[in-house]
Symmetry: C2
């Protein structure tokens, strides 16, 4: 905080959302088609400006989540990613964006019929590689969001945020595989996840139907920080066979 007092520069505050989910075992991000200049027609992150009624930025993020994606923040993981403030990031003038990362369980269809009709789930891969160009500096924000998710999978129970209330260990494994972009050994993963303290707890010895043997259902445990962590292999460990 400065000691001097002087006239402030006018700065617009935006809140942008990186909403990640899994669709058919692929990591997707929610993008909207811009309807106005600049970058009209280009894909962009959902977001908006801060209300002028003294709204908290975290509340603004939750509000945009509802408005643009029809998602309830209270049921999602939502955390701040950081502030993006390069002076030229918005051609209209000085706009400082606070980016938030949200994790949602796989939804059957992209939201529709709401204000979020223009929102579409898009695979992250073309965005990360730059083959799909986003408006503003949104590619960088997605990059940072995915990187945040990747590292948090190791040390926190974030992976369960991609799952429904009850899930199988195989489903949890697919989260790790999709976000990290590599294959894991199911047997070792099973052991690892079970032995990591309060990570997941058996949900009433229920089961669910697929093809083979029914799997036990689990739900997210009380532990948010994992001891020991789920280590991410340096290189894809032997990609021969399995599934």
């Amino acid at each position: 905080m400065s000691q001097e007092s002087w006239s402030p520069p006018p700065v617009l505050i935006a809140v942008d959302l990186v909403i990640l989910t899994l669709r058919s075992n692929q990591l997707h991000v929610l993008l909207v088609q811009r309807g106005i200049e600049p970058f009209r027609g280009a894909p962009a992150l959902p977001g908006g400006f801060l209300n002028n009624d003294g709204e908290d930025i975290a509340v603004a993020a939750a509000r945009e989540l509802k408005e643009e994606a029809d998602l309830e923040a209270s049921r999602l993981h939502l955390e701040q990613l950081g502030a993006y403030g390069k002076p030229d990031r918005d051609p209209r003038g000085r706009v400082l964006s606070i980016a938030y990362l949200a994790i949602a369980p796989g939804l059957p269809e992209p939201v529709a019929g709401t204000d979020a009709a223009a929102a579409t789930w898009t695979p992250v891969e073309p965005v990360l590689s730059g083959r799909l160009t986003l408006a503003f500096d949104h590619q960088q924000i997605v990059l940072d969001g995915v990187e945040r998710a990747r590292t948090k999978l190791e040390h926190s129970a974030l992976a369960t945020a991609f799952c429904e209330d009850e899930f199988t260990i195989a489903e949890l494994q697919r989260v790790y595989e999709a976000v990290w972009g590599l294959r894991l050994d199911p047997r070792n993963f099973y052991r690892k996840v079970q032995r990591t303290d309060g990570f997941i707890v058996p949900a009433g010895s229920n089961r669910r139907t697929t093809n083979g043997r029914p799997a036990r259902l689990f739900s997210a445990g009380p532990r948010t920080v994992l001891h020991p962590p789920i280590a991410r292999p340096e290189k894809s460990p032997a990609d021969k066979g399995d599934r």
Copy 2:
């Protein structure tokens, strides 16, 4: 980014700095005494408002680092911590603060004779525990900054930012001990640090004088992300003897 266009709320942008260093093996943070209301006389983080000439926020952080602490950002580790935007965090009105974390090697004396005369190195412990009350939400920011440093010690070469260009392994160990607040076994630490790929590299087989056998000097290696990480023990592993 929002599709609608409407009048923006006036929001002031501040940049606040959590500058950490080691002084006599204790983690310290740089605090200034506030000269004006609100919180006049209370300790606070160094910082200031964004310039109105279209300054980048990272540049603003570097500028404040120079102005308030007489430190050169180019020689320091400097990273963004996050945005703090609770509506009531500043009684004067809406002020959104972008916090930055800076790591400096142990400086012999607090900066003096400069604009930063009011700045003093303060042990973090009273701040973390709440025994020392800071202005605004600065206690929370310090908490987040220290937590960030603690976790980054594990997975990145951040520890070297606390050291001079050349340092001994024992000095590096003291960084880990001070930031984590626990004791480590010197022999195991030696092994671990040496075997972690490009973490530290021998600086010309020089040495330095203390009391016992001279220690080899090392400098920061090319690797910024550590494989494998330097694991932080869950509990202080046997605090009997040594040093």
